[in-house]
Symmetry: C2
Amino acid sequence: MKMEDKDSRAKLLAIATDLFACKGFAAVSVRELTQQAKLNVSAVSYHFGGKEGLYQAVLEEQFRPIRESMETMQAQTPSTPIAKLEMYANRVTYIHGQRPYLSRFIMRELLKPTAYGGPIVERHLGEVYQFVMETLREGMEQGLFRQGLDVAHAAVSMAGILNFYFITKPLAEKMVPLGEDSDAKYAMQAFQLYLYGIVDSKTKGNENG
Amino acid sequence: MKMEDKDSRAKLLAIATDLFACKGFAAVSVRELTQQAKLNVSAVSYHFGGKEGLYQAVLEEQFRPIRESMETMQAQTPSTPIAKLEMYANRVTYIHGQRPYLSRFIMRELLKPTAYGGPIVERHLGEVYQFVMETLREGMEQGLFRQGLDVAHAAVSMAGILNFYFITKPLAEKMVPLGEDSDAKYAMQAFQLYLYGIVDSKTKGNENG
DNA sequence: GTCTATATTGCGATAGAC
DNA sequence: GTCTATCGCAATATAGAC
């Protein structure tokens, strides 16, 4: 068992993550990949069975924090729907911090699903949407939220207001001043904004943060 | 002047719009393009000077409604910041209705800007962000919105809550029940939600819609 | 495990006939 | 304006030496 074995695999995985995220699966060649890793062209086939196997390995690693977060969130049972939504908002921020490229992989799979990535994205995002919608339904039953709120649409709004920032960040920071610690600050204001938007004001004014 | 001239050009443009939107610039080959259009391989070079010229022509057409909307919005001077934001929300819905593929082209250019598309996207989205931020600043000066609101972040939230729906619609409608006339209904609720989120409730409760 | 060398396929672009 | 034929290049994958 030579040390180069694991090193080469890990190196390929790291460089593939960068390249696939920035250029997309089709636009990255095995040559480019192995040249950057200072390995032979055939290393990809040897370690991952080909370019597709390497991409699959990258995706699994990228989605790990989502998988773990969903398990955590489904295990706990926080007191109120609002606390659950806040936890979700915090997890979104945490996950994007842990995996800066994750939004890119998800967007690419939304635009053009691959055989392996498509189902992964669908399964994970499906679970997330179910969690948010279920939480919103709970809140509706408890009379916390505005009458007539469409929970399916409200779930998309929640996902949108939190994730769009991370998706468009590279471009947005060219055009609007985002400043220091922007990620956490954005998420906090966005969650407050969303909460003011859905909460029934005659039942509960939200004044934390 | 033969009829085939304009026909071939238009046919290529239409098919290229579909293919580039669905598969991306790099993943579409000139052969695939011309076979679907039932034209010769060399037609692309003849009419557009090459694959890149064709892509450029597609993008110009896709962005036309944004360009026109910005001119309309900058020409008019609606009474209040809130009316301006509402107009913006309506234009977003209208534009996505006019160009169902636009969000895909924008996302692709955000993920991997091309030489021609990158500047186009940057310029157009920059103008939009400037308009929203300026409108939010106006509202802040008039005391319409909550104290301490970060207008840069709030502008991203506005763009996110409106556009994310259109971006993820293909996937979202697999997982959440979106129903009939969903686009307009979504946009209306999202705008209301956003407004409740930013408006200073002690100054103005918003009860239209 | 890593290497070279090669087989095979597909790409965009274009010259030149019609 | 459309066609065929072809050039030059880059892609993935793999066989076989070390």
